[in-house]
Symmetry: C2
Subunit: 479 residues, 2 copies
């Protein structure tokens, strides 16, 4: 029995050390491994299968809105990266440079793409001629490189996987509409598929993307109260178009600049799933994103008929959910601990006695709840439970988040909350960057967003400087 517990006991508890708990989970749930390339991660099968589900579902939702996938080069010539002033300032300090190809030095260094705005602009410049060529609603799934100093699996690494959408439109309004449409698509995806509630809003100028007119964001709260920026959508106006000379002829034969957007989501989302739903037994996956939704664990599998029954149930249930049988030679206790560590939403236990009674035991990963279910009720009960778990996980995460949103009316209160109450802080803001800078320096909290769905005026004064306030901001420490 001691041996059976080993997997679980090896995890640090969340309360004790959240960062260490996170590291333990990504490693013990076999999501990633470290590589001999500093700051780059190896995504193992259990981690990659989650990413595949995220990718497939997002891609399906993208395509419903008319998105087409393309593939751009992994390299950007230095001169191209430099075409948009703010953009190069934002990215140049953190890119990797290729200076040698084959056996010779390159005449111009190439950077490994940190993001592909410049490549898409360079392409659109030639590809877009007439209003008939618009809109372009392109996306690519790829890896990008950013030379980060401090790295953590999924949350911040020198290479990560993502999708980047890049669109071009005839009008400012249409570009803005697409920016918001994609932000809402991201938010719905997080809430419906990852059971992860998010706050939708706009970034302040200080926090917006290098080169954007406006950046929109969805912010999720992790279990420790910190914010995780989970997806962003940028409205570029015609800024990039002017730098890159992307013009089209309208239907009155006039030359006009296009309006552009870009939007992205990354493997960070896997980190978010871990930190929103995980517990001291490991990962807890929402059923929709879980690569395996139900693990069947045979009890006394050496006994005649037990494995056969497990396989028979698998056959029947595989039409209704993603199901596996753990028929390895480990003990049932060990298998339970593994299934819990890996976050598989449901466990089905079946042994000789159960078979005699034509029943089995179902155990929920999220609550630990056990229930005895007759074999002939399984095909109703399993899908129903998976749906229930998905909904309950969302509601629990939302309740946890809402409980950890605090209002600050002045700076003392703000600083007190930052120190003593991990979570989001609602506080008014004068609109001055100096206040954001001060708050960040004093407390490490940053402005997460100006929320869309919350414009309550909780005070008429800026929470930092006391001058007249313009906007409500959600503040918080962030990953």
């Amino acid at each position: 029995m001691a041996k059976d517990k080993k997997l679980v006991e090896a995890i640090t508890s969340m309360e004790e050390d959240f960062a260490q708990w996170y590291t333990d989970v990504v490693k013990k749930a076999e999501l990633v491994d470290y590589s001999s390339v500093k700051g780059c991660m190896i995504i193992k099968p259990a981690g990659f299968a989650i990413w595949e589900n995220i990718r497939n579902e997002l891609d399906r939702r993208f395509k419903e809105t008319g998105v087409e996938n393309v593939y751009m080069p992994v390299f950007i010539p230095e001169s191209l990266l430099q075409k948009e002033k703010d953009h190069v300032e934002g990215f140049a300090p953190e890119v990797a440079w290729v200076t040698k190809g084959g056996l010779s030095e390159l005449t111009e260094p190439l950077c490994v793409r940190p993001t592909s705005e410049t490549l898409f602009c360079d392409f659109y410049k030639n590809d877009i001629q007439s209003y008939r060529d618009l809109p372009k609603v392109y996306n690519q799934w790829c890896s990008v490189v950013r030379w980060e100093k401090e790295t953590r699996p999924f949350l911040r690494s020198r290479e990560f996987l993502w999708q980047e959408g890049h669109t071009a439109h005839a009008t400012k309004e249409e570009a803005h509409e697409r920016t918001i449409q994609m932000l809402n698509l991201y938010a719905d995806f997080c809430e419906e598929y990852l059971a992860m509630p998010v706050v939708r809003g706009q970034k302040t100028d200080k926090e917006k993307f290098a080169g954007a007119d406006a950046t929109y964001t969805i912010e999720a709260m992790m279990h420790d109260g910190k914010a995780l920026q989970s997806g962003t959508s940028h409205d570029f106006g015609d800024g990039f178009a002017k730098s890159f000379e992307i013009q089209y002829t309208d239907n009155e034969n006039k030359l006009k600049y296009v309006y552009q957007t870009s939007w992205g989501m990354t493997t960070r989302l896997i980190g978010a799933i871990i930190m929103v739903h995980g517990d001291d037994s490991g990962l807890v996956l929402p059923p929709r994103v879980a690569p395996t939704q139900l693990m069947i664990v045979p009890i006394r599998q050496d006994k005649d008929g037990v494995l056969d029954k497990a396989m028979e149930l698998k056959g029947k249930l595989s039409l209704l959910c993603r199901v596996k049988v753990d028929d390895s030679d480990k003990s049932p206790g060990w298998k339970f601990a593994e299934q819990e560590m890996r976050g598989i939403p449901l466990r089905l236990e079946v042994g000789p006695k159960d078979i005699e009674n034509s029943q089995c035991v179902l155990v929920r990963r999220d609550t630990g709840e056990k229930m005895t279910v007759a074999f002939d009720e399984l095909e109703d009960k399993v899908p129903e439970l998976l749906e229930q778990i998905q909904n309950d996980m969302f509601e629990r995460a939302k309740a946890h988040r809402d409980k950890h949103i605090y209002d600050a009316h002045d700076y003392d209160e703000f600083c007190d909350i930052v120190v003593n109450k991990p979570g989001f802080i609602r506080g008014m803001w004068c609109g001055d960057k100096a206040c954001e800078d001060k708050i960040k320096e004093d407390t490490t909290a940053t402005s997460r967003c100006i929320p869309f769905e919350d414009n309550e005026v909780i005070s008429d004064k800026c929470v930092c400087c006391g001058k007249p306030a313009k906007k409500l901001i959600y503040w918080g420490k962030a990953y």
Copy 2:
């Protein structure tokens, strides 16, 4: 009418200049565009949608055999690349080197992966401990970089997309079995899904992969008679395991080396589809891989009811195939030419007169055959025709290939065939690399493979040196 023909007229004919015809097709069918990064291509939506279908179908077939997907870093430290002697010699001359990260020089250069054997080995070294950890049957979908001097879209570019499978096994036999299993999977995929017949065989030592014990290949014949290596599967024996110290403890507690394989297919396959099936009107896509299988072109779409009917037919047929309506403001003739250029397997024409008679016209892309079909027969006829086209395309490609395989009994005959009869040459070989070298130097033809399914002895003498022959080889000029 002249305007309608423009798209088609702009293509060079295959007979006149096959290379230019190819370039015209990839450009006019909007599969790729050139980028400002020399030697790297932009894969446009029409090209990427083909790759998505290839990827999804291959991935499905992989997973049926137990393959799990992972993701390895894009970079390989120089010291890691050098661990296997033959491997580094094969790849070092053609890799791109990152020497700067962020603002500082790297202490060790990183190469952008040209292939990931070394990364997988480095990972397996730690991940594999016991026989219980075997086999590992991992794969990744990614891009790789090889610093080629001469590049052509899909066929040879500095960056391309591919999958690379990397497996580790307890025994030599099991590794060999997996090598052959994947080669057969590739061959079946090409024949069943791409309607492209292939010759399965083994590479000679001269042509095998850097570091492999044995390389297996599938070779397809392009319309111009040249060979295209379309997929390879490598048996590494325990060579990499010994260089990287990948050992496991067997069930008698003895330390043993693992046996490994790797296998890959790339975006080259899109080039193969073009060159096997294309014609002077452009691309011809086999229905299974075609992103759009049926294009509905309304005739006189300004007339009441025509567009409605087109949409109604689309709705009905979309359950049976991938169908679109071209309701743009171009003329029908222009739409026909576009649909042909893009290789869409079937066209449905429907106009006011057809509607009166409750019928429409179907046109096959591969043969140009037109047929009148009653509306209420469409749901039977369309899937039947798509199936028929798929089969006919395979049979035609096979007949073309078989007609262009020639036997050479001595060197004069060999040289005569190389010059005058484009295709594969069957010729006996003594087993000596010097003969392969001479043939390549004299004729530019190379040994494509020692075929699995053809061991006829067409002579007892080597086709080059006249000494006693050991094996039948398929020779040919190659892409």
